[in-house]
Homo-oligomer: 433 residues x 2
């Protein structure tokens, strides 16, 4: 590409499936993305856009004008369409909406009625509905006339005359039952349905637990609004898991690996600022013991060990609790047991590592008192780390703060302060008397 | 439950769907699990076992004898069956195998032929195959005779007389085409198929990229062996994402939130041991400067700030690269660009925070030289953190070490050593001259 062989590149890209072009775009630095996008086949652009991750998608959208956007969004799934339109400036949005046909405009408005990250904004509206009183034979003939089913259709939904969901007929049922039976006789009435206001994450949990491939979305009156398919749920699951992992490192999960430098630096700097505050809190703890440190510089050499071990132990517990909260395993009934368990692990590992570090320090520095002090501080800090590792995320969860984001920093501050305070504090007492 | 109302509990549990019982078991401490398991409906136990996470599953399996296992595993999916049998002792395994019927035994042997975590061990063998020369009408009549399709079937596979895969017919096609056509006329021959030896993670990537619901598994001769369904892929995606998150905190992703205390403590202690080594390496760096620290205790108070900021900045980059490697965005063609980008971010944030921390230190300690020293160390460490955050995981990836597991610890050692060395080293030079 860099050697300017655009014609060749274009012919290669045009032959690639949309999902591969999307991967290629995501794997390219921003400057190359623009060039690559202009080489893509116009008919394929909508499909490619659907496959891109959010950061890359936003970059591409910002290159387009209204006419371009209308052309690209034609035939898109409702949820992707809503995403694209949510991201563009208001003036452009009006222009795009005006150029759309009535059906597309209606679909956009439906999706916009629900807040982002709910079932309503994720659903697509291309469902096939049946009436309960017709026979399977009629359904089969209707489907043959239709000639094509929407993507990832594994069931047709049965509604009454006012669009209330009353059941579903899986495709496998249509294929295996006697065609002379009526829909009412074969339909599955115990279908799980999803309220449009349900948060995405709850939807993903339901899909995972019940191994669904698609599920109907209804309003509070049980009227059918659309359906959610497993491919969207897979994206939700992946995004959420990435959110925990990236969040714990202080990163935005939307951050694209190849985002431009300036915005990336800006996004990360917030986290560094918070850490600086935490680091100064820890430093002010050591500052309280400056006189002691002056007396004995060896303390300064050793004082980083205890906070570091506490940070690691606490982080282990934190990761476990964050996952437990995400999966839905942790509730009121078992928190006390969990705190007890993690405290016990802290106690146990605290003892093991207190002894170990004491021996190491005595051998290294030849000072038994120092060994005892560091052992005591280690034991206290690992115990506190275990308890704080459970209680901090649970308290944050209760007050609707995301523990994957804020938990690590809060925990580290606690283990740093407790680690430094116990180590330097005990050393001060021993030196004084 | 604690009040001994077993009869009531049993009747409640018997009415719950298997997936909810599994969630209940996973959310319970080990002692309660045993009691709850004994209250479950025997006919439902197989299904419950399939839904449990690995740690909980192993705990339950260890309670059962051969006859029990045979009863429970009857009718299980091949992949779950193989999992259960992989986990039991050899003597029990033989006993279970002897009590199985021939068909189940054959299924077990197929799955066992492939290593764990490959497509072959994840696939199920309950596929429906068609011949290319029959008409759709015949297929429809055959399916009606069969009366039921395997779970999550979205396509039937077309094979030749020696079981080679030649195409697939989606259920939606069966329902929409003219029944007088032959299978050969309607089948999709460009089906994506998966080799049995393909690692699970690659399989998950293919499913995500192509929005598949199920896909055929073939051997190198293109003979059909079975199929993989999206519900198994969802588990793989979730496990892998959890692996990154838990791994970065030094935890095993299989670790169950309610695992007993002793094994949990033991599993975590390895990580603490590694961290202790890292902490002692950092301490030995400060030890080189003990004379300097003795001269100026304020250095001891401030010396934790620079390593801490470097650790955070490096970890941000590390998380980004680990995700990029997992998703497949990072390859040979763009690593140099990525290193350049992260170094630039490190440079930028290094400058911002160097100035900031210098001002804070000058105000706090009233010492301009100290401010200049800490600013220099901060700048160096953030730059190194950015570069190490990309190169460490990439080198590990090259040598097949999992960066999600080992990356954080290695990186922290680098940022601690560089941070302490640059801060204390510069201070020593300044104090000396």
């Amino acid at each position: 590409l860099e050697s300017g062989m655009f014609v060749l590149a274009r012919s290669i890209i045009e032959k690639m499936p949309a999902c591969d072009v999307a991967l290629l775009l995501e794997s390219s630095p921003p400057a190359n993305r623009k060039v690559l996008w202009n080489l893509t086949d116009h008919d394929q652009q909508g499909e490619i856009l659907e496959e891109l991750n959010e950061d890359a998608k936003d970059g591409i959208i910002s290159l387009m004008d209204a006419a371009n956007l209308v052309a690209v969004t034609e035939g898109m799934d409702t949820d992707d369409l809503a995403y694209v339109l949510r991201g563009i400036p208001d003036s452009l949005y009006q222009a795009v909406l005006e150029q759309m046909d009535a059906q597309d405009r209606h679909r956009v408005e439906t999706a916009f009625a629900y807040p982002e990250d709910t079932a309503g904004s994720t659903m697509s509206t291309d469902t096939i509905t049946l009436r309960a009183d017709v026979s399977i034979d009629v359904v089969l003939r209707y489907l043959r006339l239709k000639g094509e089913l929407p993507e990832a259709t594994d069931a047709l939904y049965v509604v009454d005359s006012t669009d209330h969901l009353i059941g579903e007929v899986p495709l496998s049922t249509l294929l295996t039952v006697d065609p002379s039976l009526s829909v009412a006789q074969v339909m599955n009435t115990k279908t799980g349905s999803i309220f449009a206001e349900m948060p995405e994450l709850e939807v993903a949990k339901l899909f995972e637990r019940h191994d669904w491939i698609s599920a109907p979305v209804v309003d509070h009156d049980n009227q059918l609004l659309g359906r959610i398919t497993i491919d969207d749920v897979v994206d939700i699951i992946r995004e959420n898991a990435e959110h925990s992992m990236m969040g714990m490192a202080g990163m935005d999960d939307d951050e694209d690996t190849f985002a431009p430098i300036l915005p990336s630096a800006k996004r990360r700097t917030v986290w560094l600022a918070l850490n600086l505050v935490a680091a100064f809190i820890a430093a002010s703890v050591s500052n309280m013991f400056e006189a002691t440190l002056e007396q004995m510089a060896t303390l300064a050499v050793l004082m980083t060990i205890v906070p570091s071990m506490g940070g690691i132990a606490g982080n282990q517990t934190l990761a476990l609790v964050i996952r437990g909260l995400a999966v839905g395993h942790i509730g009121n009934s078992n928190t006390r047991w969990l705190i007890g368990k993690e405290a016990a692990i802290g106690l146990l590992n605290g003892m093991v590592w207190a002894i170990f570090v004491a021996v190491a320090v005595v051998i290294w520095k030849g000072d038994i008192t120092l060994g005892i002090i560091i052992a005591g501080a280690m034991f206290i800090n690992l115990l506190v780390a275990g308890i704080a590792g459970v209680t901090i995320p649970l308290i944050m969860h209760k007050y609707k703060i995301d523990p994957a984001l804020a938990g690590g920093m809060a925990l580290m501050t606690v283990t740093d302060v407790v680690g430094l305070f116990s180590f330097l504090g005990m050393a001060t007492l021993v030196l004084r008397y």
